[in-house]
Symmetry: C2
Subunit: 559 residues, 2 copies
């Protein structure tokens, strides 16, 4: 038997980075080390103290290097694997989380003179302050009938690359002028590891208007957005993009030493956390919708043909698995809504009960909520606490709850919130199916499915589809990164020549599945009808109260 | 100086009864004794153990006698007033709270064979299980173009006398047959005190379809509702009604002894808690809207002419003050909504802060909510946690909240609930003014104004009207009862010959008032616009989701 080979996956999430060491032949997880970002999500004040406006969300790029320093040696040590037995390295990252740098890759945020400039930092995926810019992009894009409008299901999001860049141009032209590059953090970290800038097609395709075979929109388009941006592609963004699984370059001596790896180890091109998770959930064919369930949900689906679906985040050829179209949709808050409720909505009687039961209050709450039947609470909610990503693509939408009475209890509100997020997923499934893209089953990964079984059963009952769960021992994005590391290494070095091969050997799902129950599904059909009616009334112009309230709120905050 | 005379007011509320001794010449409060009802509000199980269906709310009539036994002697003792110096007794009661009795006044609920029969008990004002019956009454009433449909602003409520009686007929015909009388608890208690059944025009006019000079609808009408009810007026209800302030009779020897009063003391006819409060707030002329603010709000207004206003609870000639039309409107839950929020919506960080500040958590919450500006929360709610009384008259409506984000905090939700109830009051004011009935100022009494200053300021800012407060030392209903006791006694015995005279001497308001602030009123105009749009959408058939959710809820509860 030949000596085992291993790969290193590094998963950059919203709050922390994780390094895993995985055995190449079967995907066995040997170790996993997590390092929280020292500055976390910067949404109130910069590390330098300056106060941020509402809807901002930044990160400090130096925190990403801190993860390399800290998590990788720890993971290697825990795995008892020598650095030279790591045949490949791959990363995955939240997206779109772009940042300005100098020509040598130095982040503007790391240069003393820019430390007090909010626009010098990474704009995290959930930075929501670029809506006016997104509106302008959509307006100009529609007028000019640009490709990207169709590719993104009709709307380019405020969360994405060029909305965020245009906000820099609008609000801080001096930062725009000072930057040599504007780059996804996921590409920047690969640049750090290899010493060479090499961007990936996945992030560019899903977030950056890039189309395989055609590249970016014209100079003319960017010039129409803002005269300063006419040459943005040539000057700040570049046109050289590499497909997923490709080798971006070789690990530098400096980082090899710092992390305890061999210099020259192949490093895969960057990837997006949601996309990299799909093969890690065993999905390399159409028909299975992968849900990466955490603070938000990303819905990933493969298809054989180009199809424009309303409100999809993107439809990219080879965007997830080579040879297939990858569709991405999403809900902008799911776990975040429950976390909000845990902080702001749990009353004393639940806390007392939990203390009595000697369990976390979430367990007491879930137990009560699980005892309710669909429709019993009389509540229905719209899950728009952080706007609506798919299918409405509108960050200015907000949450709604209907049906409260004097008898309404906290567990009923909690269950209604779970149901609302399930209705949101069903809306996305129906959008796919309305265009003939079948969704036969769901495969769930991420933090939520393991934590909340009630949630999974409700999703099965609401959608009427069986839900499989990813391997509970793995973080699916980290495993997906480790699988892409094996592809970057190639079969000759002990890895694989394609992600489909890697998925066959390295990925698995659990035996446990959640099956829909017909009688509950029938009740949820009725509740979903109510959700749908409210969804269209508040989301499609029947009553723009949410936008007016948000505008009034901004007005009052500005006074 | 002549020896002082005193009157006794007995105020029957939702949870307890209160006896006050008041000096006749100036209304000075000498004592106040409260006795909670032993069985309280019966809304889950009968005292005999039988489980009630949702929306039921009953009381045990023997609890009302328990108040006489307990509170009156206590109040006399505390006041240091001899029984023979009490020149008159008057009561006021929640309404419509009717009950079945035998011919001698014995409540069916007090007869052993009926103790397990829910329909034998008092149906408390907030009993909401007679909506199908109210619907039938309205349907038949509209078809036949009955007077009462117009008098009640277009709809007869499920909370009222004949809806509750028809529910007995529908669900327990044996109880209907067994009762000799169906009587408001407010008239029944006067019957107990005097030994003679004597009903009042106020309760009959506002809750029982009775019209001055015309009496009740015809036998034909009642026969159309249900064949069994054709002779209901002659058989169970009676046609002899006495005006407010009239003397119903003289105190019996038995009750004089039990309470320590003089046999033969004049007892006023029954009155409704909200109506009796109007002169106690100094209001005996048009233009001042009296708000009795507690678990719900009753809005009372005087006018010089008969006017039909949408969703009014009633318009009764001499119904509050002789010679004027008395209008009644209301919101079915106000303090109840805040109590609901205090129990089900206050998170741990508020509780912890309150402990740190060494104040009740309500104080900590109010402090935070008071620091917010109108519109700052981005929230707007419909205050329909217990249905909508005026102007929609629909118990099947439920609460709504719009605008939640991940940044929404508990104090913002609390403030939005307060604002929603203020918008509800503004809707009522606008309904009056649309018919030319001016509302120049507001006068508030009840438990809420003293407890919650933020609430009062928000009401002033939302309505754009100055709010006066009733004398904080008085319970306005109890004082109103004591004033009517003085009228029942008459000037010759040391009382007064009219309620207008009694109000001049016995009632007063505070110097402290709440004045609207123009800039806040302007912001609230915009928020009220949003409230109004949602109000009409959910309340006037734009989307009957609330009714469908309630129906589904009943269906699931029945399974």
């Amino acid at each position: 038997m030949s000596k085992d080979k291993f790969t290193l996956g590094i998963d950059y999430g919203t709050e922390s980075g994780r390094a895993v060491v995985v055995r190449a032949r079967d995907g066995k997880l040997l170790s996993s080390a997590v390092i929280p970002y020292p500055d976390g999500v910067i949404d109130e004040r910069l590390p330098s103290g300056s106060k941020l406006e509402p809807d901002w969300a930044l990160q400090n790029p130096l925190d990403y290097l801190y993860v390399l320093d800290g998590a990788v040696p720890k993971a290697l040590k825990e795995a008892k694997v020598r650095g030279e037995d790591i045949i490949g390295i791959a990363t995955d990252f939240t997206a779109s989380s772009p940042m300005p740098t100098k020509a040598d890759g130095t982040p503007l945020a790391a240069i003393p003179k820019y430390r007090k400039a909010p626009h010098a930092y990474v704009k995290l995926w959930k930075h929501h302050a670029a809506q006016p810019e997104a509106n302008r992009i959509n307006e100009v894009g529609r007028e000019r009938n640009e490709d990207f409008i169709r590719i993104y299901g009709g709307k380019y999001s405020s969360e994405w690359f060029f909305s965020k860049l245009l906000q820099v141009v609008d609000e801080a032209p001096e930062i725009y002028d000072a930057m040599d590059r504007f780059i996804e953090a996921g590409d920047w970290i690969v640049w750090q590891l290899t010493g060479k800038e090499k961007r990936n097609t996945c992030t560019a395709g899903y977030k950056g208007m890039w189309v395989k075979g055609r590249g970016f929109p014209s100079r003319d388009f960017f010039g129409s957005l803002h005269p300063r941006m006419e040459n943005v592609i040539a000057e700040k963004v570049g046109e050289d993009y590499s497909p997923l699984g490709a080798c971006a370059g070789r690990l530098t001596a400096q980082w090899a030493k710092k992390m305890g790896l061999a210099e020259g180890t192949p490093v895969a091109v960057g990837n997006v956390d949601a996309h990299v998770a799909v093969p890690a959930c065993t999905v390399t064919e159409p028909g299975s919708l992968v849900m990466i369930m955490g603070t938000s949900i990303c819905h990933m689906l493969l298809g054989k043909e180009k199809q424009m679906v309303e409100g999809m985040s993107g439809t990219v050829e080879d965007g997830i698995v080579p040879g297939l179209w990858g569709y991405e949709a999403g809900q902008s808050a799911v776990g975040d809504i429950f976390a909000w409720f845990f902080e702001h909505g749990v009353p004393d009687y639940i806390l007392r009960e939990a203390r009595k039961m000697k369990v976390p209050f979430q367990t007491a709450l879930e137990k009560r909520a699980a005892a309710l039947r669909p429709g019993e609470s009389g509540l229905v909610a719209l899950d728009w606490w952080n706007g609506n990503r798919s299918v409405l693509v509108d960050v200015d939408l907000t949450g709604v709850m209907v049906g409260m009475t004097l008898a309404t209890r906290a567990e009923e509100i909690y269950r209604a919130l779970i149901e609302a997020t399930a209705f949101g997923t069903r809306t996305i499934i129906e959008a796919f199916e309305s265009k003939g893209i079948a969704v036969k089953e769901l495969v769930a990964c991420g933090g939520l499915p393991e934590k909340n079984r009630l949630l999974m059963q409700i999703y099965a009952d609401v959608t009427g589809r069986e839900i499989k769960l990813a391997d509970p021992l793995q973080t699916c994005s980290a495993l997906g990164a480790a699988m892409h590391a094996a592809v970057a290494a190639g079969a000759a070095r002990g890895g694989y020549d394609s992600i489909v091969e890697a998925a066959k050997k390295m990925a698995r799902v659990q035996k446990l599945t959640f099956k829909p129950r017909a009688e509950r599904h029938a009740v949820y059909d009725r509740l979903y009808g109510e959700f749908h009616l409210l969804h269209d009334y508040f989301g499609r112009g029947g009553n723009d109260v949410m936008k007016r309230l948000k505008a009034l709120r901004r007005e009052m905050a500005a006074e």
